[in-house]
Amino acid sequence: MKPAPFDYAAPAELTDAVTALAERPETARVLAGGQSLVLDMHYRRERPALLVDINNVRGLDVITVDGHTLRIGALARHRAFETPTVAPAALGRLLSRVSPYIAHPPVRARGTMAGSLAWANPVSEWCATAVALDAGIELTGPLGRRRVPAGDFFVGPFRTARQPAEILTSVLLPLLPGQVGVGFCEQRRTHASFAQVAAVAVLTLRDGVIAEARLGLAGAADRPVRAHDAERHLVGREAEPEVFAQAGELAAAGSDPLAEPHAGVEYRRHVVGVLVRRALAQAREDSNGNYGDEGRDRHEGREAR
């Protein structure tokens, strides 16, 4: 488990990083947290000729509120999202609920949200969160900056709209008003394993009626997806258990998961339905102001592993 030979550059300026990458885009890879890339290099599944390490680039680790948007730099580590104060109101609650499910503490200390999006594992928690929230993905390349909506960014397993010469420099998440309810459920086999399926739910309620619903799914397809049918079903209906169950069934029916050794397609599809229902119930509780453990099944994390 030693990587094949590669060149290494660690520029201090973003422009230098972009230039280095542009010189041989097809064979270069960007190194941020390295928690997936370096592992694949060790297995020699990835053999970049050049590694452009962006960890020396100043300012890329910043997380700032910019109007109605949370701007997350390419070097913001998973760990930064473990406390709800990382973002105002419901967005902070959602991010801090999701991040503990990412691998284990050493990985969260190194790995980055932007890196997860660039890697585009179909079971990634951040990818599902990004599509649920319609995140903006900011890419910087030789021709300047461009922004791609999350819904267009993921094009297949480990495949994105990023061009080889581009660096994913920022993730833009819309702030969520306080009364919005958020929920997150994940099915995984051990605390440190990848998700088999995960569901992000964001509900806006008015007088008990669902005004807006967003559902992001990991492990439900070959890429992170929104459960549009389920979302449409929810809007205008009361936030009640049977409605959530119907939404779960629609999400399951609409899913097209990949098989893996310990989770067949049928099982994964079934799990999509269960987790959507449970995440919606969490979101409703959250919307009611039950932010703490009281509003959730305390064991949900363990149960839904």
């Binding site: 488990m1 051990t190 989770a263 099982y267 363990r302 149960e303």
Partner: protein, 782 residues
């Protein structure tokens, strides 16, 4: 000797060998931590094979087959040899006459018809089999070389299931079929017994292949010395056997080989073998005249090393209407993988067939079958977890059939304490046991009545998660029954300054010998523990030894040291007699021989005569039979199939625990591995014989986050055959845990999950498996 102190007294810094402690903060020094080895191990000062600095050392890497079965047509090493830093590349053809063959574990057996060369010669038999070896100036270069080797293989039909392989006309070895061995234990049970019995139940089970996954995979460093000898640094459980095998395979004098075992990152049974890679490394070190090291990595070890378990099992039990067992028949097809290197593991399953139950008729038929998968070899438990799982699930089937409480059914069938020593129909002599005592204690500690009531309450409710209680009662074997393996060599030397150096033929791979054995010797001699040091794992220092496996170290090695210490006391007294004391006047206490007014410390006696004050001997020790009962309480989320272990109570009886803390730590470790077998671990193969996990993201181990609340306790039935009263410990946890958890899950999901007698849920109980079971779908039936 059952009066050993229950907790360790603080000990002074170890006398020898001198570990490098200089940079260790004082607060972390070992005598404050408790175990002598802890300070260096927890501060990174341990010295593993990978840490040893040897000038001019080369690194080896292996090219392994990616095809499960095929004719090896060509191995092109040309491009690899061109790489800067690559010192040499060898396929079997390049080795020529020097290609070593792995010596058979049981010389003269049928295994020798299925020889295992160090590198594949004309056929590959599993994915991961070594095909070529590259030696380079570092591991990176060596892997670049491995990358550049081109292997041409013409595929052959692939066999991954032992039942299928036994029946197949595709043979892995020319001229011999795929059944490597057939063994029978006990007499076949007459048809009449089955026909007349009030109840007959039958279960079929699959034991998945498990990867032993020690933190440190295999590791070896061969250093040719100036005097013509070779020092082998290796992470190993049985250095003397390795020394002998290396001599055989490489046609060297045993005296030329020194095997040394430095700190080890665990073994779990998987480091007792003489591996093909080791033969290549030593051969090339000798040929090149340079040190060569090979450190196996995680990706390699998962399919390139050995697997544990891997059995297809069928169990039949006949009982009368009161649940008394009349007969038990066990059939096993043991999947030994591409080469039959350790058929004795499956033999243990057969020998142990009826476990702790008084069953008049017991018969086991065991076949070891070669398949196109990684060879199987001992893994913690080694044959016992397989037997216990098959029988304990079937006992639960019987309880369900009879509508009887599973605890009561077990109690009715235990071999009673007064029946020992008990000759089992399979030809095994059980030394002692109080099986009902352990069961009763387990039921009391888990509060069995409470949980049964809670289970009834939940079954009445529609909304609450299903709860199940599962039992496992077992008797296991520790130490070994076969004659040479039941011995252990020990010696004690008194130095002129009165310290005692103990040498022992066991070899710790994490079992705390460095702490426990000196304390044991010191206690027997009545001297402070800091006056005793231990040497093991070095064939120059320790003239002979069997090693550490089968939970034998304390039972056999500890007993040997204890007896040696008693002999040392006698020898010390004889020296006093020789100095003119009258024999009846000579007494010994606390390291001092006295006679009337005169007295000598052990050190005095060592200096008083030019003849060294030392004793040594080979001490015999029969196998012993630890036992216990485990109870698991689980909750199942039927929607997702997730199992949550709410309680696990483990009652173990390993006789007298010489160091209860260390026994408990080893029990917990084994329990975690048992949880792994029950819920997470499996090395799956596809139909092409490709292993489906190449890392620990695919092969799931339980972590601290998966550890349920544990309650550990003991009963104490001393080993009647040793002065220490100790039986083996360290493996029970992975024997008792899986059946307890699986029986609990079946108990939670209800009658239908056990299905018909044949079928039912199979290991590991993944969420998908449990979800299918809860939904009433067919699960794992065959």
């Amino acid at each position: 000797m059952s009066d050993l102190p229950p907790t360790r007294a603080p000990v002074q810094p170890p006398v020898s060998p001198p570990p490098t402690f200089t940079h260790v903060p004082q607060g972390a020094q070992s005598w404050l931590l408790g175990r002598r080895e802890d300070a260096r191990l927890v501060t990174g000062a341990g010295r593993y094979v990978g840490d040893l600095k040897v000038a001019g050392c080369l690194d080896a890497a292996f090219v392994r087959s990616r095809v499960a079965h095929g004719r090896l047509l060509a191995v092109d090493t040309g491009a690899a040899a061109e790489i800067d830093g690559v010192v040499g590349v060898w396929s079997a053809a390049d080795m020529g006459d020097e290609l070593p063959v792995v010596p058979s574990f049981t010389p003269g057996s049928a295994d020798e018809e299925r020889q295992r060369p160090a590198l594949a010669v004309d056929r590959v038999r599993y994915v991961g089999e070594p095909v070529a070896v590259i030696v380079g100036t570092d591991r990176y270069v060596a892997e670049d070389g491995a990358d550049a080797v081109r292997v041409d293989i013409d595929p052959l039909p692939v066999l991954v299931d032992p039942g299928q392989a036994a029946a197949s006309s595709t043979w892995l070895f020319d001229g011999v079929d795929n059944v490597a061995d057939e063994m029978e234990f006990g007499e076949p049970v007459d048809d009449e017994v089955w026909q007349r019995a009030a109840v007959v139940v039958e279960g079929a089970y699959r034991q998945p292949r498990l990867a032993p996954t020690p933190m440190e995979p295999r590791a070896i460093l061969a250093v040719p010395e100036l005097d013509g000898r070779v020092t082998i640094w290796v992470s190993h459980q049985a250095p003397h056997r390795l020394q002998k095998d290396l001599a055989t395979a490489l046609q060297l004098d045993v005296e030329r080989i020194r095997v040394r075992v430095p700190d080890s990152g665990g073994a779990f049974g998987s480091k007792s073998g003489t591996f093909p890679e080791y033969l290549s490394v030593v051969r090339l070190a000798l040929r090149l005249g340079r040190p060569v090291r090979w450190i196996e990595d995680r990706a390699e070890t998962l399919s390139g090393a050995t697997h544990g378990r891997g059995q297809n099992q069928r169990v039949r039990i006949a009982a009368d209407e009161d649940g008394r067992m009349l007969a038990l028949a066990l059939e096993v097809d043991a999947d030994v993988g591409g080469y039959p290197i350790a058929g004795f593991v499956a033999a243990e399953t057969g020998l142990a067939a009826a476990g702790p139950y008084l069953t008049p008729k017991v018969h086991a038929r065991v076949r070891t079958v070669v398949t196109n998968t990684t060879p199987t070899a001992p893994y913690r438990g080694a044959g016992r977890p397989e037997q216990v799982y098959a029988v304990e699930r079937t006992v639960d089937l019987l309880a369900r059939r009879l509508g009887m409480d599973p605890a009561e059914l077990r109690r009715r069938n235990f071999i009673p304490p007064e029946a020992f020593p008990y000759e089992a129909p399979t030809g095994r002599r059980y030394d002692s046991g109080q099986y009902a005592l352990a069961l009763d204690k387990a039921l009391e500690l888990v509060d069995y009545g409470y949980w049964r009531e809670e289970q009834r309450r939940r079954r009445r409710s529609d909304t609450e998660r299903a709860l199940g209680i599962g039992l496992c009662s077992f008797a296991e074997r520790s130490g070994l029954e076969q004659a040479p393996m039941a011995h252990e060599w020990a010696s004690l030397d008194v130095t002129p300054d009165g310290r005692v150096v103990a040498r022992i033929g066991t070899c710790s791979t994490g079992q705390s010998h460095e702490t426990v054995f000196p304390e044991l010797v010191a206690h027997t001699l009545g001297i402070p523990a800091q006056c005793v040091s231990l040497i093991e794992g070095d064939t120059d220092e320790v003239v002979q030894g069997i090693g550490t496996f089968g939970s034998r170290s304390m039972q056999a090695g500890g007993s040997a040291l204890h007896q040696a210490a008693l002999e040392l006391i006698e020898e010390a007294k004889r020296r006093a007699v020789r100095m003119g004391c009258a024999e009846p006047d000579v007494g010994y206490a606390d390291g001092t021989v006295s006679a009337g007014e005169r007295s000598w410390t052990l050190g005095d006696l060592a200096t008083a005569s030019p003849e060294p004050l030392r004793v040594e001997g080979v001490y015999d020790n029969a196998a012993a039979f630890p036992f216990g009962t485990y109870v698991a309480v689980v909750e199942v989320d039927p929607e997702l199939g997730n199992v949550r272990v709410l309680r696990l109570v483990a009652i173990d009886d390993c006789g007298v625990a010489v160091d209860p803390e260390i026994v408990e730590d080893q029990t917990i470790g084994a329990i975690v591995q048992g949880i792994g077998q029950a819920l997470y671990e499996e090395m799956p193969y596809d139909n092409q014989g490709t292993p489906q996990a190449d890392g620990l993201l695919g092969y799931l181990l339980p972590t601290i986050g998966e550890l349920p609340p544990l309650t550990l306790d003991t009963t104490v039935t001393p080993n009647p055959n040793t002065a220490l009263g100790a039986k083996g410990a360290g493996e029970a946890g992975c024997i008792g845990t899986p059946p307890a958890i699986v029986n609990a899950v079946i108990d939670a999901l209800g009658q239908s999950v056990a299905g018909t007698d044949i079928g039912g849920v199979q290991l590991p109980l993944t969420p998908e498996t449990c979800w299918r079971a809860a939904a009433g779908q067919e699960v794992g039936a065959r």
